[in-house]
């Protein structure tokens, strides 16, 4: 049965002390509500036991992310969108960003809060395994003062927590010590958005010379509360990764979790899949040695400006390079290429022009002086087949370039790799008939392809 709004009180104090004194006056009577993505669902269904609610939505004390030298402190009423948009969270705590993107859709990410996810204490909450592996601590606050508790011990049972009736979580603290760890997370569900997980694994590991120096793994939806895979971590720590160790890890994790059959999945499926996820994470280290390339690993560890400068020859837009560098760590080539495409398409026209200007004229060897040497070398490799053409075709190409530059006031951009001069000449003549907007889009698409090829080359060096 639906709730009737007349049966519920809601107050909206504009500061945290007012909320805390209200909670202290009648302990247990007032329930804090932030974005309402859980409580309003219970309310609509007539299942909300509390009749007095106090809003903590948008309280300034709870909606800020403090960046300190040793840790970051995420205000409990920060939304998933706040997390997704924070550069430090993205760079240093990518598991949390992934979980935030999987939570609900955009509208729920705009209202759902990290603190709400914690106190709601669902066994299936996607952000909680990430908090466990990062070793998060919570600052709880009440009129009695504040205390700091390890998040790992916060959940005491199914939907039960250590939070006292007069307390709220003020901050979730994350130590800044994982930037050299490999991060892995995967949600298994009907779909990522708006679907509750069947299994969700978050994992961090640091491997040197094939030996696991440190490893942290946590899993959701396979026990009454999300939990650290302490037993499995123990059999892995200090060991060399090989097929026998991976097999041992999958057997250990299958024993360690306690999944149930429910509407979303079966215990058997969850056990098998969790073991597979652990194996996938571990195999990534050994494959990573060869496939992941030392290039990305090294690039990930460079200072921001250096990383941007290094990748600039792949695409001559400074804005593109800076945004790519800010997205690190990027673990593999697929992620690298997808990120590049996305950033490229979001750039302004002047950023595009800057990138176009880094290329030499097609059929013309001199590279603009602004282009890095690496870019010039790639250009000559890409135009190898063009350079092999006869003088007649090259003369026609030069004439085509001139006509193009007159019409569009910039050089002709084409992904030349593997194409003969004649093919390129045909493309040029066709594109001369484009209107300006179509031609801009087509040039941008060509630059996107050039960038992808160059990123692949760069990554395999």
């Amino acid at each position: 049965m639906r709730s009737h709004p007349a049966d519920y009180e809601l107050l909206t104090p504009n500061n945290l002390p007012s909320v805390l004194s209200l909670l202290a006056q009648e302990p247990g009577a007032w329930l804090p509500i932030a974005g309402g993505t859980d409580l309003m669902v219970q309310y609509a269904a007539g299942h909300l036991a509390a009749r007095k609610l106090v809003s903590i939505w948008n309280l300034p004390e709870l909606r800020r992310i403090e960046i300190l030298p040793g840790e970051i402190r995420v205000g409990a009423a920060c939304t998933y969108t706040d997390l997704i948009e924070n550069d430090v969270v993205n760079l240093e705590f990518p598991l949390l960003t992934s979980a935030a993107r999987w939570t609900g859709g955009v509208a729920n990410q705009n209202r759902g809060t990290l603190g709400g996810n914690i106190v709601n204490a669902s066994p299936a909450a996607d952000s909680l395994p990430a908090l466990l592996v990062y070793g998060a601590e919570l600052i709880l606050v009440s009129v009695r003062g504040e205390r700091r508790v390890p998040y790992e011990h916060f959940h005491t049972g199914y939907r039960k927590t250590q939070c006292a009736a007069d307390e709220v979580i003020q901050f979730i603290c994350l130590p800044r010590q994982f930037s050299d760890y490999r991060a892995y997370t995967r949600k298994i569900g009907a779909r990522n958005a708006q679907a509750i997980s069947k299994v969700c694994l978050a994992a961090l590991g640091r491997v040197a010379g094939g030996v696991i120096e440190d490893i942290c793994m946590a899993v959701g939806s396979v026990a009454p509360v999300p939990f650290r895979l302490a037993e499995t971590e123990k059999v892995l720590r200090g060991k060399r990764i090989d097929p026998a160790l991976i097999l041992l890890a999958t057997k250990t994790v299958a024993r360690e979790i306690q999944p149930i059959d429910d509407i979303r999945s079966s215990a058997r499926y969850r056990r098998a899949v969790t073991a597979n996820l652990v194996a996938e994470f571990l195999k990534g280290f050994s494959e990573g040695g060869s496939k992941k390339s030392s290039m990305l690993a090294r690039w990930n560890s460079l200072p921001l400006a250096e990383a941007a400068l290094e990748i600039l020859p792949c695409c001559g837009s400074n804005s593109w390079a800076r945004q790519m560098a800010a997205l690190r760590p990027i673990e593999d080539e697929d992620t690298l290429l997808a990120a590049s495409d996305k950033i490229w398409r979001s750039l302004t026209e002047s950023d595009w022009m800057e990138a176009f200007a880094h290329h030499p004229r097609i059929g013309h060897s001199a590279t603009p002086s602004t282009a890095p040497a690496r870019s010039a070398q790639w250009s000559s490799e890409e135009q190898q087949k063009v350079a092999a053409a006869g003088d007649n075709v090259l003369a026609e190409l030069a004439e085509g370039n001139r006509a193009y530059e007159e019409r569009f006031s910039r050089i002709f951009i084409v992904c030349a790799a593997g194409n003969s001069a004649q093919t390129i000449l045909d493309i040029l003549r066709r594109r001369l008939r484009n209107d300006k907007q179509t031609e801009l889009q087509e040039s941008a698409e060509q630059q996107r392809q050039i960038t992808s090829l160059r990123l692949k080359k760069w990554n395999s060096e």
Binding site: A6, L10, T12, I33, A44
Partner: protein, 164 residues
Amino acid sequence: MNNLSQTATKSDITLVVNGKTVTVRAFAMERLLDVLRTQIGLTGTKEGCGEGECGSCSVLMDGTLVNSCLIPVLQASGTHITTIEGLATDKRLHALQQAFLDFGGAQCGICTPGMILAAVHLLSQNPQPTSADIREGLSGNLCRCTGYMQIFEAVAGAARRCGQ
């Protein structure tokens, strides 16, 4: 039905809806969705699931996409709300409304207002989205007629037109 005595009283709550300042007399815990539909008379915002799963009740609150079924109206006090009725100007459809028409992005119509507001929010943040961006941006909005392809094409079409 209900043996609880009423504990709450109504109060005046002021918000700006589609550019007009409106004061309603409501219980604090009334859902923004209900206040928009019944008190303010803007029935373009639809109720689908009532639990934040379907996105039919999407509106913009201070420019941010939210599910109005999950918002106690008191939390919307002082905010600017945009509903589907607030998109067209001077009898000219918003680019996304026009694109939904042109690309056949609406079937039964229940999800359409929410889809369009989610798309408005997406394009406000990312004017030239990739098809993956469009899917992610609309992932909280369900269409049970399942005409998703036309919807995605409408959003891509509107982005192209606006970019020209």
